[in-house]
């Protein structure tokens, strides 16, 4: 998929663990893993909003478009 989810980078910047992020965002660790591994087919605006709020960033910091 040309859209990549760069949560790892933001997690490193914020010095936050994946477990803590999933807990604060309100998604299961399994679903966070799906997101991190770019297996997700779609992301809800509510999830994106929560991710941006918790990581204190913009959607563009998490999502990246790359040409195939």
């Amino acid at each position: 998929m040309p859209i990549r989810v760069n949560i790892d980078m933001m997690l490193a910047k914020r010095k936050m663990s994946a477990g803590e992020l999933s807990q604060r965002v309100g998604i299961t660790p399994a679903n966070l893993s799906v997101l991190k591994n770019n297996k997700a087919k779609a992301i809800r605006f509510s999830t994106l909003e929560a991710l941006c709020r918790v990581l204190d960033c913009q959607p563009a910091d998490i999502l990246e478009y790359t040409k195939e």
């Binding site: 998604i27 997700a40 087919k41 779609a42 809800r44």
Partner: protein, 148 residues
């Protein structure tokens, strides 16, 4: 709602068992069908033809019963829209077509069989459409599961 759902599944399973038992009895009794007709209705019927039709029909029918049971068991386990269920539906629909073929072959000697042939083929077509719906449902479910 839950109560009704569980009972509906149980009823389906019981119906399937009853159908299987009835088919078994029909198979076992097929060679004596001619005698039965002679004594009850007073007319002779071609026993061998009837026996062959019933026995050849019983093969796809029992395969269909087996896969229907498997389908019901999967639904009971809350695994509804899965690839396995699509496979079950596809096999059941082919069983219906096989049953239709048996009746079609029987129709060369007994014209009334053509009605049963049409009925079995129509059920097969309906099941194919349901299978197609299931395929779309599986795709939708996969997409939904991967929407975070």
């Amino acid at each position: 709602m839950q109560w009704s759902n569980n009972n509906s599944l149980k009823l389906s399973k019981i119906s399937l068992w009853v159908f299987g038992v009835c088919l078994g009895i029909a198979c076992a009794a097929a060679p004596w069908y001619g005698l039965l007709c002679k004594y009850i209705f007073g007319r002779t019927v071609p026993t061998l033809r009837y026996t062959l039709i019933v026995l050849f029909f019983a093969i796809p029918a029992y395969i269909a019963v087996h896969f229907l049971y498997k389908l019901l068991t999967n639904i009971e386990k809350e695994q509804v829209f899965t690839d396995e269920n699509i496979r079950c539906l596809r096999i059941i629909s082919w069983c219906c077509f096989a049953g239709a073929a048996v009746f079609f072959a029987g129709a060369f000697k007994a014209v009334s069989c053509i009605l049963l042939c049409a009925l079995a083929a129509f059920i097969g077509i309906i099941l194919r459409v349901i299978k197609n719906v299931f395929e779309r449902a599986v795709a939708l479910q996969n997409e939904n599961d991967l929407t975070i």
